[in-house]
């Protein structure tokens, strides 16, 4: 039984090291890997929207800082390509 536990612990450690290495490689460095786990992983399977669903609405502010409009106002008549992102 002790031998089995030793092997199991060894396998888990090896897998953990391999996973940490893979995430570090993807992220660029071990520090970025930690940030990826903290900031990106919680978002990876967020949301349930799928093709065919009604597009949700949200109110946005135009660059003039004054005009407010809804995403769904822009969907009349033609397809709307939505590009979400930020500067950084």
């Amino acid at each position: 039984m002790k031998l089995f536990l030793k092997w199991a612990l060894g396998v888990v450690l090896v897998l953990a090291v391999v996973a940490a290495g893979a995430i570090s490689y993807m992220a660029g460095s071990p520090k970025d890997a930690l940030y990826m786990v903290r900031y990106a992983f919680p978002h990876m399977h967020r949301g349930t929207l799928k093709v065919g669903d009604d597009a949700p609405d949200a109110r946005l502010l135009a660059l003039d800082g004054q005009t407010r409009f809804h995403i769904r106002e822009r969907t009349a008549g033609r397809p709307l390509v939505l590009v979400f992102g930020s500067f950084t």
């Binding site: 993807m26 660029g28 970025d32 940030y35 990826m36 903290r38 900031y39 990106a40 978002h43 990876m44 967020r46 949301g47 929207l49 799928k50 093709v51 065919g52 669903d53 009604d54 597009a55 949700p56 609405d57 949200a58 109110r59 946005l60 502010l61 135009a62 660059l63 800082g65 409009f69 995403i71 769904r72 822009r74 969907t75 009349a76 008549g77 033609r78 397809p79 709307l80 390509v81 939505l82 590009v83 979400f84 992102g85 930020s86 500067f87 950084t88």
Partner: protein, 134 residues
């Protein structure tokens, strides 16, 4: 923004600025330091507007633009952070849902959807001019 230039006659485009992906007070990237794109995560809508305006001016960004509110309503509704593409059809339904960026942010997929409906827009390949031999 080739996809915008190629299909703006058929589809509308809207860029939605959501909360920063790599601000200096969270997960800052070396590439952003190198490119001098260093911002803290905005705490007010005015700060968010200022960054959005910096972005559009720096790149002379041509697409229609909207800024998400501080409750992150658009981000939450579309699971948008850090970047994601969607196409909504004329009936207001999701026609294409892209993956979470950056690894699964694939404009080619959105382009393929548009090409499937409106035809492919081809661009002549750029041919390199060989240097003259003296």
């Amino acid at each position: 923004m080739q996809i915008y230039n190629d299909y703006k006659g058929h589809a509308d485009f809207l860029t939605v600025y959501v909360r920063e992906a790599h601000p200096t007070d969270e997960w800052q990237m070396k590439s952003n330091v190198k490119d001098d794109v260093c911002y803290v995560q905005p705490k007010t809508l005015e700060q968010r507007m200022a960054i959005a305006n910096d972005f559009t001016k720096r790149f002379k960004y041509p697409l229609p633009f909207g800024v998400d509110d501080m409750a992150n309503a658009a981000d939450l509704a579309y699971s948008a952070w850090p970047e994601r593409l969607y196409i909504i059809d004329e009936n207001g339904r999701i026609a294409y849902r892209g993956g979470m960026g950056p690894f699964n942010y694939k404009p080619a997929e959105a382009r393929a959807w548009l090409a499937g409906r409106y035809g492919e827009v081809k661009h002549p390949e750029k041919t390199e001019i060989a240097p003259k031999k003296s």
